[in-house]
């Protein structure tokens, strides 16, 4: 998956890591997979193989590697519309199943977050919930002690809950699916031992077996606009600096008092595809008057240079730039602070605008 997707996913991983996961009750016996459930999974496997070898399937799976999370979310929600899944949908309508929803999800390993995998999925109502609702979800899987070693697979699920109710904590253990398949089965429970559902995962490196997993599922699309997607996590690079502070020498006169509503963006090692532009703070702003110092403490991983652009958030889409800064490794010495002036002058007429930043290099040649 692309850098941006993984960095967006890291926000959800962070949300999970902050949670106090319960100590789940662990049932001794595992449920038997019914014949009808087995038929569903067997047909799902066939449909997936046909789809992934089709022109449309190959195109989507190739493009998926470079999608950001919202684009991938939209694409996953349309997979079941392809003709290869018609028979599967027919079976879901005709067979007697205890499940209330069926899901398809793209499973992936986050390359730089060890022991964590994700599933970006789409669930539809079946049985009594047929046609009632659907949901798009993101599951974070915590699988300590297992090296997934694979990038992308697919996960199908039969769930006891309706699509909108799939969110939350689950504890899972491996279960035999009962038919010849290059896939792994997992039965999932709530913290109170309630059976949540059964999944089949194909091709995500899980076929070597696993003992236990924990997961947390986020229902997407109910969390406001652009939820948890502003990039925050930074993959490590060779060097590490801190933008210790930003000083308002003189604010811009924006007609809204004598304060500027300041935020800045930063980008390491040039622009171009796959290079992430970060915002600090990721939401909101920090108000500054003349001579105010914002000790923002924003750390940045970089190889050779960092570009910083400071904005006055005036509440419109065209926020005003009040400073641009170009930081190069060659200008910095370890553990010393350097003051940077804006590379461009944003003053005009009587509007005298000036901001400076203080930057300290705190680690060098960290990654060989």
């Amino acid at each position: 998956m692309d850098n941006k997707f993984e960095i967006q996913f890291a926000n959800y991983v962070g949300a999970c890591k902050a949670m106090d996961f319960p100590v789940p009750a662990k049932p001794v016996s595992k449920p038997a997979i019914s014949d009808n459930e087995r038929k569903i999974f067997a047909e799902a496997e066939k449909a997936w193989i046909n789809y992934s070898n089709s022109v449309a399937g190959k195109k989507f799976l190739t493009e998926l590697q470079h999608m950001d999370l919202p684009t991938a979310q939209s694409g996953v929600a349309k997979i079941l519309d392809n003709p290869e899944f018609d028979k599967l949908k027919s079976l879901l309508n005709s067979l007697d199943l205890r499940a209330s929803s069926f899901s398809i999800g793209i499973s992936f390993e986050a390359e730089f977050i060890l022991g964590i995998a994700g599933t970006l999925g789409f669930a539809i109502g079946i049985g009594g919930d047929k046609g009632v609702s659907s949901s798009e979800f993101l599951s974070v899987w915590i699988m300590e002690g297992i090296e997934l070693g694979a990038l992308v697979g697919v996960q199908f699920g039969l769930w006891d809950s309706a699509p909108a109710d799939l969110g939350g904590y689950a504890w899972g253990t491996e279960v035999a699916l009962g038919f010849e398949v290059e896939a792994s089965g997992c039965v999932l429970y709530s913290k109170s031992e309630k059976l949540l559902g059964v999944t089949m995962t194909i091709g995500a490196g899980l076929d070597e077996g696993f003992a236990e997993v924990e997961s947390f599922t986020f229902i997407l699309g109910t969390q406001g606009e652009n939820p948890y997607l502003e990039p925050v996590y930074q993959p490590r690079k060779n060097n590490f600096l801190i933008i210790e502070s930003l000083t308002c020498v003189h604010p811009s006169s924006d007609g809204a008092g004598d304060e500027n509503e300041i935020y800045f963006t930063f980008q390491a090692d040039g622009g171009g595809e796959g290079v992430v532009l970060y915002r600090n703070p990721p939401y909101s702003y920090f108000s500054m008057k003349e001579k105010d110092v914002w000790e923002c403490g924003r750390s940045v991983w970089f190889n050779s240079n960092v570009q910083v652009t400071v904005y006055d958030d005036d509440g419109t889409s065209g926020n005003d730039v009040v400073g641009t800064f170009s930081i190069n490794l060659s200008e910095l010495t370890l553990d010393n602070t350097k003051t940077y002036n804006s590379t461009d002058n944003y003053s005009s007429g009587f509007d005298d605008v000036e901001y400076t930043i203080n930057v300290k290099l705190i680690a060098q040649n960290v990654v060989s």
């Binding site: 890291a10 926000n11 991983v13 962070g14 949300a15 890591k17 902050a18 949670m19 106090d20 977050i113 109910t222 969390q223 406001g224 606009e225 652009n226 939820p227 948890y228 502003e230 925050v232 996590y233 930074q234 490590r236 590490f240 801190i242 210790e244 304060e259 703070p281 990721p282 939401y283 909101s284 702003y285 920090f286 108000s287 500054m288 008057k289 105010d292 000790e295 923002c296 403490g297 924003r298 750390s299 940045v300 991983w301 705190i362 680690a363």
Partner: protein, 122 residues
């Protein structure tokens, strides 16, 4: 992978809240990011926050590990599940060898004023 350094945040004192000249409440939560890594929210959970008024102290026992620094950002949470509506209050960057004690009051122009009490562990 264990971190080289750690601090313990013991409490956060509110000397003023944002808005209404520091007299209203802030629904305070923290985002802690070690070495620009995975951001961790405290308290855990999307709807969770700690209601702060002037003079109130939030008692914590929060240990944060880091190799180079850990940036602790204070937010005032408005709408659950939507960080777009959260208000940035202030932040403090803890680095190795910072000693123990209290940060200087972290202020903003809306009246917020918070002091973090912490112990440098190693």
């Amino acid at each position: 992978m264990s971190k080289q350094h750690s601090i313990r945040i013991k409490s956060i004192y509110c000397g003023g809240t944002s808005g209404d000249k520091g007299t209203s409440s802030d629904e305070l939560y923290l985002v802690c990011q070690s070495d620009a890594g995975i951001p961790v929210r405290v308290p855990a959970g999307f709807n969770k926050s700690y209601s702060m008024q002037k003079g109130k102290t939030w008692e914590l026992d929060l240990v944060l590990g880091f190799d180079y620094e850990v940036l602790v950002t204070l937010w005032d949470h408005d709408l659950p599940f939507d960080p777009n509506t959260a208000n940035y209050l202030q932040s403090h960057d803890f680095v190795a060898g910072s000693g123990s004690g209290s940060t200087k009051p972290l202020k903003n122009l809306d009246g917020a004023e918070y002091t973090i009490n912490f112990t440098y562990i190693d």
